[in-house]
Symmetry: D3
Subunit: 339 residues, 6 copies
């Protein structure tokens, strides 16, 4: 471990800034997978999946704390930090089947959302250009704009569908008068053309927004959404099948964006804008595994884990850790089956 | 904000006592709805729904803390304290469709349950007399005796049915040798004639009481109850349909009493007498919305939220806040449809 | 353990009410001292010190929870519940030197402060009549009125001095319009003549009350108080010497009332009305031991421990437990020295 | 309460060690049932069910704290510590129908797992020899080896089936290089011949182990397991029926081992190795009650409750308390029906 | 309360943004003082002291959460939210002696530190221009740059001394490569000429920075600092007298900047960058009161209260509330004495 | 990071056991110092100070959890994990002045205290033999027996003095009938001859043991102790001077054993056997620095940090981290001065 592993916040050394690997807390990788250097192309090209930390919480409109999300998700496991996780149901170990590496955190200065997003977008694009799958650990949901734009920068605007698990649509026009924040990324993605509304499917909405004007805009963009009341009535599996058919009809590439607040706060109290009445943890795990198995996933993000609010044994971070594992296991199984 | 907004506990000024609006903590209204004066008849008459704080926890037989329930429920939301909450499923904003006001807290001295109940009963009766719907934020469940008696004082004894969500039947004869407490209100209501046992339906009972003698009394009163084991087998929707048919057969007016402990403590840890094995938060939200839509609701209460035990992001208060919103939205939709 | 050890709150059996020993939680004694029956005179007469539980929190003007104080203080120790506690500095084991028994909790229905106080006052008087020293575990500070009146009922009105550790003077005239509460007991005691203001000394006052009118009343009663700013300047030992000289001049008997909020909330977060800037735990322990050693103590109470707010390892309950031990050790040493 | 109720950890008195009843914290019985002496044969013979505390957490491979499990489970109830618990659904009070006693904790020195297990095994065997049913409150799951071996010592090796609720199979070969730990007990039981793999059924497995080699061993032993994905698809009731038919085919006696981590950490955060995506509390309660009703239960254990991680109102301990009650109620109903 | 009291984060209405009074949570004033409108000059001119909320936490280099500081400090009191706080030692009620108003929160979008600072600086300058004293409730310490620059904008660059309580000097050159953050404000203030290093005095430094290079810069600027080791040796009162003499020699106006982490985390756990070994709460209270009494205070700020980390009864917010009160009381006493 | 960084608890691979570096949680070094291999002699010989993790909590007689102490102490800092910590008062950076490395955790199976101690003792001896100073991060205090015996194995029995900060003397004869535990290590050390009682000095004792018999034994061994009451009266600095003179008279080598419970639980709630009335954090920091500066330190340990009980921002781990830094800084300064 060299002195530049973690960034000295007050350091004046540009090289230290460029090489740092952890913004907050000790420098560890996701469940102990090998470290890669985000600046070395060969490191990225030799990987199937690249874990990226996005420790940013200045996009949140309420509770902050998601800056500690990447650390909590990387270490959120009672089992040893050794990359061996045989999947019971799928009969595959994602770390044996896929080359998974972790490039550490992207430099995201809290007070400068535009620079932070630009840094992240560039890293994600570099990963996609190396033909690896970026799995981004947030951070608040504002990073979706950077993550998905970064994918679209390489694969083409309008070429990527989005499967979006969330309690909220995140389609506000502005947030506190700013264009960027965790309530606006999906609007920015559609307005910029990075993603078409027709290839945008949302799962798990509930609560008391968007308001009618916003719903109208979403309808106008031909977005599709399944609210919790619908999921209760139709069943989650049926809704997912419907959602997948929409995505598979329009896109050869799908990005999966998972806001942990899609599950009920009983299962995920450690989040910034909790909304009661959500999915169970089991429903989310099964849904994410199915997405990995059935969709052409080109990238994913798990966002809005806020450790300071994660009482009761850090169960939110544990859930997010398993969400990543289910995604990786699904992808691994799909690849193994198609070979 | 005048100096009499919150009561000075040690003040000797009777006027300050009469005009105070908050017993514990800052003086705020439910999600920012307009303030009304509980002493001004015109304030009440110009409202459709009146929110009432009942910050009382001296009726509890175990954990106290529910005195902070009204404050926690009023502010239990990550969204701004601005009364705009468009309901996604029902397509209506209860604050646009209904005139909702908040009259603050009733004066309820902790050590004097009889005076506390009398104060509350009088306020509730005044609201009902003004043809508004009282929505009372508890406080422990002992207040049900005051709330429902206050409604019956205006609408007539034996004229109001009660839909009661709870883990416990609350039909003890006495509590610590006293007639009043959170274990006895339903007994007092039936014995006084305010409510007939035939119009009393309980949802969600579980655990290890009442004992056989008490069950016998309940049967004798012709009360109906659906315990969790039954709900598991028959399904909640079927049980609710059955319950609603009983209530609609016997009463033109229904009071809905919601003890937050009807949900499992995973979803509502912040309560005085937790009992495992309860409803999910989604089940309760759907049930309450249905009650608002299908029943002639003349009043409601949400009780037993105990903030000091509400770890993990105050999720119990958040749930109670949404329970109120689902009730208001259901009522708004029903009114809009019947116009 | 018989079925009547703990009171069944909903039981209809008067005998069970009379014989119950624990209102909330399991039936245990202070550090495992022998159980005594509060109704048997010989049990009391054979004791030097009688521990009494007063699990009452309906007198508090803010945070409740002190009803769990007696249980938390009785068990607040990492060492075994075996009554052996050799005092390092004094060279005496209070449980070897004194016959200490525990009579369990007094029945104090939360919603009825007058009946609760009456029950407690009667028990305390019975203990004093048996020539034992009552050590009452609160509960909120409203019980001081019952505790000290009970002592005065036997030893005579105006015959007992009071040494009062507290952040607050507790001399309000009324609380929420009621005469009884945790802000008023010292006023009631002086007005009733149970204690003379001249024999009333307060240690540790700070914060922003009493207001001038109240201070005037206190001066008029010839009460003495030492606020924290004075203690900082003069030193605690000097203030205590001054305080003791006042008490010893006027009374042959002293009751020591210890509100745990006299220490800073860093040392005692689990309390109902925390006020920053207080004593350290070490200062309180040394002061209480000195009181036991130097004053003719006829009774004591430790109040306002509120377990639901006692995060971080229940350190408030641990402190209260040691406050009792220091008092017992001081008394034991004084007796041993005078024999 | 005599001085030997709780063990003085540093005492040199062998008699005190032999007679102690509580290793950590105050000496209380399960919900106030009568105390029995583990050394007196007549005490055990006069009982139908004997509650045994196994306060041991040195077998855990991750979070410790389960040593406080017995205390937390015994007192995990908002209702009084009086042994009256009429079961609503089954119409029976287990404490009226069965003679249930509590013998307190077994002496289990934390640093010596072999001696600890030997002490426990001997006590369990003594209970079974007295024809009573031991219900052991853990402690970590390493105690399963002692508990079930103790039963087999009396009823015969290979004569007892095991119904095992858990997120993990606990069939590791070694743990930190040791044969004994909470990851290995089921392996030891099968290898020693105490239980046959054919009579071993596991419910609730999930997560990312065992690895293929371990699965192969389990298959080779003819063990049966139902993982959560299967339970989601087939339904828990169907899986249980299948499991019970296996057990009833091969054994006249069944031991039920319940690791509280079989439920989702939302319902049971207070545990040593939490794994998301588990059963709900209601599912576990219904399953355990069914086991009591339908199987010839000769012993049971509830393990892995770790109070220091049980935030949010100690809901894990409450759940474990009810798991015991459902088991007792099921057994009581089965006995009553067969008489 | 109008719909624009709290800002709707996703609102598109510029007027709502301009008139909003609370960024996060309900709209309340400091202990219930009257509300003033930050846009109305007469509101400011009629006040002696103006409380300003600066709910910003995107300047922090570690734990966030200080955005909830203003709400927590405004309501951090067990006494009623009525502006009456008679000071025991000084014999004055600051709310009677001074006209104190609260203008609510300044709009500070989390992801845009430059715009946030600009908004705050303008408001502070407006308050000073109206000849009132701004008391700013943070927020993280990055706001010091805005607060003190705003004062200097009116009173003149180089005309204001700074008394700075903190564990850290906050004189980094950059933070995560940015000029603005909570580690850099004092550097920016001196470099911009707003404050001269000679009039900059720091109290309470400890820990393991600044490094030698930074110390050299600070010496070069002629800054003065008293570290905790010095304070232990010389005594706090002596250090303060020394500090005050420096400030009074060079400036007719002093701004007091209080980072709550100057006290030990035992007294203030709820902060972003805790450093052990600090002042006690009593030391800080006495020091701040002395500053109000002895210095020509033209503005003050209390920063780095981070409620999500404020376990154990929110004692950090309570302390910060009293720090404001001591400052106000000292100022009031000084004014009264000089009249 | 290789697969053997953290031990797989259920692994059967002896090589993995031998090479593992972290028993619980991710593999990190103390504040980012370089990693060394405990098996390579040259790694140890090239270091001045070697940090050793001893994640063992099976020696505790009450609350467990100290197994997570090493991880919490290594990462207990808000500043980056980069080994640069310039000491403000001493004007030296210990990481610049000393070669400090971290060899990770020793393998200590929880259920086997004798093997665990043997493993630790061997590692400590190896470090001392390499002429480096071991700094051991506990773990419970039972490890003192292994740590100090390991030092004595190399430097000679009776050649090393011990400076022992603690609330308790840890001189029990047995614990739960076992010779080894956190209450007995000092007895074992003296009985075995590793340390002479004359060179054993204890600072900070308080509470209610040892009992007279134990005190007699301690006196007989010529041990010296300073209890808190003495420290209050004489002052800590005077007591330390006295203690140091005893140690310097009898030994050329001193081991410093710091039980974090020597400070008051307000400053260190996260510990296994809290005892109120202790030192402040500042007192401990100053004392440890002085020990490093004035004594010939050959080894040190910081024990009894129990993270699950470390609420309120993990302040206990932060304190322990600084205790290590003060010790290192004192040693560095002493070496620099003597060169």
């Amino acid at each position: 471990m060299s002195p530049s592993d973690q960034i000295p916040p007050g350091g004046e050394d540009p090289e230290a800034l460029a090489s740092m690997r952890s913004m907050f807390g000790p420098d560890v990788t996701f469940l102990g997978v090998p470290r890669a250097d985000k600046r070395r192309r060969e490191d990225l090209e030799s990987a199937d999946v690249v874990v990226v930390g996005a420790p940013f919480d200045s996009g949140t409109s309420y509770r902050s704390g998601a800056r500690f999300g990447p650390l909590a998700i990387r270490t959120g496991d009672a089992q040893p930090a050794v990359p061996r996780r045989p999947h019971l149901t799928l009969g595959i170990d994602p770390f044996a089947a896929l080359r998974v590496v972790d490039i550490g955190d992207v430099l995201m200065p809290p007070g400068d959302i535009e620079r932070s997003h630009a840094n992240l977008r560039e890293v994600v694009a570099r990963v996609v250009a190396a033909e690896a799958i970026p799995v981004v650990l947030g951070g608040d949901h504002s990073i979706a704009y950077a993550d998905i734009s970064g994918v679209a920068d390489v694969l083409g605007f309008g070429k990527v569908g989005v499967l979006h698990f969330d309690a909220h649509p995140d389609t506000w026009d502005t947030e506190f008068g700013s264009l960027y924040g965790h309530g606006t990324p999906m609007r920015r993605l559609i307005e910029s053309g990075a993603v078409s509304g027709e290839q945008f499917v949302q799962i798990g909405l509930r609560g008391y927004w968007p308001d009618p004007r916003l719903q109208e805009w979403m309808h106008h963009q031909k977005m599709t959404w399944f609210e919790m009341a619908t999921i209760s009535t139709r069943g989650l599996d049926d809704c997912l099948s419907h959602a997948f058919s929409i995505l598979l009809a329009g896109a050869n590439a799908v990005f999966v964006s998972i806001d942990i607040d899609v599950v009920d706060p009983a299962f995920a109290p450690g989040t910034g804008v909790p909304e009661v009445g959500g999915l169970t943890s089991r429903q989310l795990l099964d849904a994410v595994r199915r997405a990995g198995l059935e969709l052409p996933v080109v990238g994913a993000e798990v966002v809005e884990v806020s450790p300071p609010y994660d009482a009761a044994g850090t169960i939110t971070a544990y859930l997010a850790n398993r969400v990543v594992l289910e995604m990786l296991s699904g992808i691994a199984r799909r690849r193994a089956s198609s070979e």
